[in-house]
């Protein structure tokens, strides 16, 4: 069957058991082992059709997992945002202006996730290969992030003395929007690739 081109997710063991049953039945009615084998394999149907059917079953499972993944990611991020908002609102060291500024930073980051996530496919190329995608995400996520944290720490944190409120607002503005852009890109890369792959497969 592997020679016929059938790959996973076809359940090879089950089909093999089926073949053996069919061959047994045919040899009992007088066919030779070889003829029985050929006929049984043929009866299974063309390899690519069988594989297509199995792929369709797998696709729905993947669809569901993707949707669940998105919901969970959204929930966790939403929760983190709530904590950030709480920190901004309920500490005693920020002036009103600083609080508003901090909230604006958080809001901007949320908007950026949505905007970049939905719109960047017009600018960003679709990466179909899973491995290239993962590599792009890992590099995009870590290299600029590390550089940015380095610059920010060196020139901002260590270079000045800030009152806590101003410090927190600045921290939020420095990190939330870029994080929003990154998450939006991450979302877009995955979504666009899945759409392209799904269209090609059907």
């Amino acid at each position: 069957m592997l020679a016929a081109g059938i790959k996973t997710p076809v359940p090879l063991e089950e089909l093999e058991s089926h073949l053996r049953d069919e061959i047994e039945r045919q040899t009992k009615s007088g066919w030779s082992q070889e003829e029985a084998f050929k006929s049984a394999v043929q009866k299974i149907g063309p390899a690519h059709t069988v594989q297509n059917e199995f792929e369709k079953v797998e696709e729905t499972k993947e669809e569901r997992k993707w949707k669940e993944g998105q919901i969970w990611s959204g929930a966790i991020l939403g929760f983190l945002q709530l904590i950030s908002i709480g920190a901004v609102l309920f500490n005693s060291d920020m002036t009103l202006g600083q609080r508003l500024s901090g909230l604006a930073a958080i809001a901007t980051s949320i908007l950026l996730v949505a905007a970049v996530g939905r719109l960047s496919h017009r600018v960003f190329p679709v990466i179909r290969a899973q491995r290239t995608r993962t590599a792009t995400i890992v590099i995009l996520g870590n290299v600029p992030g590390i550089i940015w944290v380095g610059i920010f720490t060196r020139f901002f944190l260590l270079g000045h003395e800030f009152p806590f409120g101003q410090y927190l607002a600045a921290l939020l503005w420095a990190n939330c929007p870029p994080l929003g852009v990154f998450l939006g890109l991450l979302w877009e890369i995955q979504t666009a690739a899945r759409k392209k792959v799904a269209m090609a497969g059907s």
């Binding site: 089909l15 058991s17 149907g45 369709k56 079953v57």
Partner: protein, 115 residues
């Protein structure tokens, strides 16, 4: 003699799930046996392409209608046995309802033709 035409693809496809559910309601079975029994009961007219049955079984298992287990027969042959789950019984009842409905409408119309 009037030759019975081959059964339409769509009808074969639509009847697969209710047939599998009904067969499994009589006891657990495995793929090959299911195909042979359907063929026998239909006088050879319902010959499922062997390879097509297994994706259907897997889809049904994924949807929670049936469950499977591997077992060894007396001859040492390993087979995957399927059995009906509660959701499968409910689905089977629904299928019966719908098929009976279609059948009764058709039968009623047919009766009127000969009045």
């Amino acid at each position: 003699m009037y030759l019975v035409p081959m059964i339409r693809k769509e009808l074969v496809a639509a009847s697969a799930e209710p047939l599998i559910l009904s067969l499994l309601s009589k006891g657990e079975s495995y793929g090959y046996a299911i195909i042979q029994e359907v063929k026998a009961r239909s006088g050879g007219k319902l010959q499922w392409t062997d390879g097509m049955l297994y994706p259907v079984l897997h889809r049904m298992e994924r949807r929670g209608l049936i469950k499977s287990r591997w077992a060894e027969s007396e001859t040492g042959r390993k087979r995957k046995y399927y059995s009906l789950k509660k959701d499968g019984k409910t689905a089977m009842a629904k299928h019966h309802e719908q098929w009976s409905l279609v059948h009764s409408v058709l039968a009623g119309l047919r009766k009127e033709q000969y009045v």
